[in-house]
């Protein structure tokens, strides 16, 4: 039985490109979010699609999930997962007034009948899970803003930095990237020196 709901609808004080680059920075999933994911590995990738295996920890259980992900430039993501039951998500980052970003996540679960009575409990658990995981991303963005400058996404476009669907992101945000580095918010000289490549 299908059960659809909105998982998240929140505003953050950084721009869309900051949110998109953080989402596609696959290296951080197994580390920054290591409390939530045991394992993260790219199985296949294409210009805008990827297949990933991720071991997610829910309620004390670890589920080996195959994720099929699609990037719809500039800032929409769709994901389908198979375990513990079919899950589809649609994540959108849209610019909001004042230079921030609105993040919406819509979820559709294909629940077995036996779990249908618990759908609202499941939704509540998934909301808490999402708030914890995305909260880690938002806290990381806040720290980068503090030390490296607000809306600092230049790290993502270093040649040696891997980003899923990097070519498509750079094409979608070509004008913004070409305009140059994001606005700095009074970092100290020491902070800047620490952030510069050797």
């Amino acid at each position: 039985m299908k059960y659809a709901f909105r998982l998240a609808d929140q505003y953050y004080d950084y721009d869309v490109l900051t949110a998109v680059t953080a989402y596609l920075d696959c290296e951080h999933y197994a580390w920054l979010h290591g409390r939530n994911y045991d394992h993260y590995e790219i199985l296949e990738d294409g210009p805008t699609t990827s297949r990933i295996i991720q071991h997610s920890k829910y309620l004390g259980f670890t589920f080996k999930q195959h994720h099929f992900r699609e990037y719809l430039p500039p800032s929409e993501f769709r994901m389908a997962s198979d375990v513990p039951f079919p899950i589809q998500t649609r994540t959108r980052f849209t610019a909001s007034a004042g230079g921030g970003v609105r993040r919406t996540v819509d979820v559709s679960l294909d629940l077995p009948l036996v779990l249908l009575p618990f759908r609202k409990l499941l939704a509540a658990h998934l909301r808490r899970y999402d708030a914890r995981v995305y909260g880690e991303d938002a806290a990381a963005a806040a720290r980068r803003a503090k030390y490296l400058g607000k809306n600092n996404w230049t790290w993502a476009f270093r040649p040696s930095q891997f980003l899923l669907h990097k070519d498509a992101v750079m094409e979608a945000f070509r004008d913004e990237i070409a305009r140059g580095a994001p606005r700095l918010v009074a970092p100290t000289a020491g902070h800047l020196a620490a952030a510069e490549p050797a």
């Binding site: 696959c26 290296e27 951080h28 197994a30 580390w31 920054l32 993260y40 590995e41 790219i42 199985l43 296949e44 990738d45 294409g46 210009p47 990381a140 720290r143 980068r144 030390y147 490296l148 600092n152 790290w155 476009f157 040649p159 040696s160 930095q161 891997f162 980003l163 990097k166 070519d167 750079m170 020491g190 902070h191 020196a193 620490a194 952030a195 510069e196 490549p197 050797a198």
Partner: protein, 84 residues
Amino acid sequence: MASEICPHMGGPLSEARLEDDGCALRCPWHGYKYDTQSGAFLENPNEPFIQRRLTTTYTTYNPGPAQFRLKLLPYEIKDGMLLV
């Protein structure tokens, strides 16, 4: 003695894991490993799961030696105090 800000993406090195008998530390955000004495970048542990199965050729991605280095800070020990 090193800056608390990871040169890769600004991660909190005060929460880094010390390894190799204190000779190396690993950033908690991406697992990048640095030499605590020289500041040299030692390892990106994510490369195996990133590069092993990539099927797309990225024109904007050029894997090579990372150009990161810990910012080492001068310090001295004076009268039992560590001065940075």
